[in-house]
Symmetry: C2
Subunit: 414 residues, 2 copies
């Protein structure tokens, strides 16, 4: 089963957005063991979409299209599929009623133009979209299957996972199982060197590396007739990787560092607070992104302006005057202040210089302190890149150092 991806949208051709849909779909195709050799992007042009559909169908057993299903005049994927399939368009009164009902529930009248979302290529099957207005489409073009999904990732991904992938795998009785081991603290090439021989020898299970946001993920994937057999194939490889990487591994599969932290806190009946300067609320944002975070997370004081650090967190003015605001004593005072003022067992604090102009210290200097019932640890780090990267990497580093403090891994004690 060979699958191609076709992303539709003039905004992609203008470079206004990155084609993240293609990589999201590609990742899931790889997980499902479906072969995938080509991706294409075309703009909102009926003829070019139809040409691309036909070209993909000439090479592949299935094409997954994203985008161009919306309610505006430049949403032309439905018409383009009909043109490629050589069929007309039909109006679906049930779907029109569902659209009207959706607008009514929001207390608004549906614009007439939205009715184009109830027109479909004749003979196609609609794919339910639980998160939005535009259903997807499945239809036959030549000997291949064509799927059309919305461009909005939050709508597209559930439809892909619930309908498209299971349909494409319907004749495949094998299962694909993946294990994701999440690491922090070493570069991709250093991890690659530690696991080089395993990588070279890997066929089934396969090993792959993925770097994102300061973390390196190691993915082990096995294909077998049953889930149990796939797990049995993964087992020894996973054990070997864990043996070699040790505490660099902080989480498995969906366990982000914030999930791991909240789980450790809950197990101890502890609570967490944050005090942020350079990360400006991003740590709080990551933690509160986890459902149920309020069971262990108290809150944050984002003391962005220097003069707020004293009244809001109790950082002594003399400490700021003597050491500067980007300093280990200030980070320690912020963490200890947040711990007391927000009534938490553990507090993490950040201060630093994110740029573009340096704040006391060179751009990229970040200080992280973690206060726990056992004492306070602090470390000064140097982050690469521009303001956005410094803030993102500082957020990840603060969370990872909090995790390590909770695990008792040594990284700097005062």
């Amino acid at each position: 089963m060979i699958v191609e991806i076709l992303a539709v949208g003039t905004e992609l051709l203008l470079g206004q957005i990155v084609n993240s849909n293609a990589s999201r779909i590609a990742e899931r195709l790889a997980d499902a063991g479906l072969d995938h050799y080509r991706q294409t992007v075309v703009g909102d042009n009926e003829e070019r979409i139809a040409d691309a559909v036909l070209a993909s169908c000439s090479r592949a057993d299935a094409v997954i299209i994203t985008g161009g299903l919306g309610p505006t005049k430049d949403d032309l994927t439905r018409e383009a599929i009909a043109r490629a399939a050589g069929v007309g368009m039909v109006f679906d009164e049930d779907q029109a009623e569902r659209l009207r009902e959706r607008w009514r529930r929001r207390g608004r009248e549906m614009p007439v133009s939205n009715l184009q979302q109830a027109e479909y290529p004749d003979g196609c099957t609609l794919i339910e979209n639980p998160k939005g207005t535009a259903p997807g489409i499945r239809c036959r073009v030549g000997g291949s299957w064509v799927f059309a999904l919305p461009g909005v990732p939050a709508e597209m991904i559930p439809m892909l996972e619930r309908d498209v992938i299971p349909f494409l795998r319907r004749d495949d009785r094998s299962v694909v199982v993946s294990r994701l081991l999440r690491t922090w603290g070493e570069t991709e090439s250093a991890i690659g060197e530690r696991l080089g021989d395993l990588y070279d020898a890997s066929a089934n299970p396969t090993i792959a590396f993925l770097a994102s946001g300061g973390e390196i993920k190691v993915r082990i994937t096995a294909k077998a007739p049953t889930e149990g057999e796939a797990e049995a194939m993964i087992g020894p490889v996973e054990a070997e990787v864990r043996e070699r990487l040790g505490t660099r591994i902080f989480g498995t599969d969906g366990d982000t560092v914030e999930v791991v932290i909240l789980r450790m806190l809950e197990a101890r009946g502890w609570t967490l607070a944050t005090a942020e300067s350079v990360t400006g609320g991003l740590i709080a944002g990551r933690i509160t992104g986890v459902p149920g975070a309020s069971r262990a997370y108290r809150g944050s004081v984002v003391a962005y302006a220097t003069e707020v650090k004293t009244p809001a967190l109790g950082v002594p003015r003399e400490v700021i005057a003597e050491h500067g605001v980007v300093s280990e004593p200030v980070a320690v005072a912020m963490a200890e202040g947040a711990r007391v003022r927000l009534g938490a067992d553990v507090a993490v604090a950040t201060t630093g210089s994110a740029g573009p102009d340096p704040l006391e210290q060179p751009v990229g200097t970040v200080v992280v302190a973690v206060a726990t019932p056992d004492g306070t640890r602090v470390r000064t780090l140097q982050m690469p890149g521009d303001r956005e990267r410094v803030r993102t990497f500082a957020t990840t580093a603060a969370l990872q150092l909090t995790r390590m403090a909770l695990q008792g891994v040594d990284w700097g004690r005062r």
Copy 2:
């Protein structure tokens, strides 16, 4: 001049990385007024790369390839271009010496396998790579130009800007100018209807719509012999769009809502604070993402746990007990408390139910309050989608309502 982009790399087909090179190149093609209708991705396979090159050359005047120029066995772009052009490979002794010299300067012996980076399709021109080892390639395939650049963005972009774009524009004396108008508060289809006739009539300047994160952007693009003439063509269309959309437009070009807010605050000598519950630090994160935010932004109290709202923000316990934590009186008390406690002129507060389990109110209920020297406004909103979307849209809504409060646009006063 029609240009296609071909990205080479199996990691793209596995979804391990996003094809950000394509969007970076596409953006620069658009800025340069070069037409661009299609992007393709193929893996590290000589035959498929060669096929894709030939297909692109049959449709376009030029193809820009990224990736596959490195020193490892799976770097096959050079051979694939030779195959597509029907020429042999030649060994370039000068380039081999440059490679050896580069390694010597780093005090290392060059691995023999790296010599493949000195082999090129016969008759091609090398493009200098000031930031890395692999030069680029320019050569003729059929009637079209083929450019091959490295996949590393830091190497690729300077070569694109210095060599490829000027070469493609060598006969073109025109310039392209774009204006981006940012709107909030109406759906893409509603904006589309208001501007439908302008969109239908648009050729030069063109009009395009782009929805992201709850905002709809309207892009007006003109091509003309000079910048002044392009601006003169955009002028009347922009005036008409502004007339029809009024205060729905909140910013131009790079002016995000947080930039607009900070600029208005600075102009008045005012400061801002935030008090976040449901948005959990995301508003602070957006504001502090703007360089120089500390000139007007004091900080935030993320009062995530209900019991933190009283000590940290002074929300009276009786108000929480009587109205619930997701209520207008609590949002108002949070905003007014943050204004006083963080010593700011303006404060925005959020409380709500992000899910997956409802908190007092149905999932998606979000209350925003903005306290200013003129009084406090409050509004209850219903957001669609899952936890992540509710939080993202609530963040955008809180920022937009702050902007409207500063502009004196009425949206709910108490």
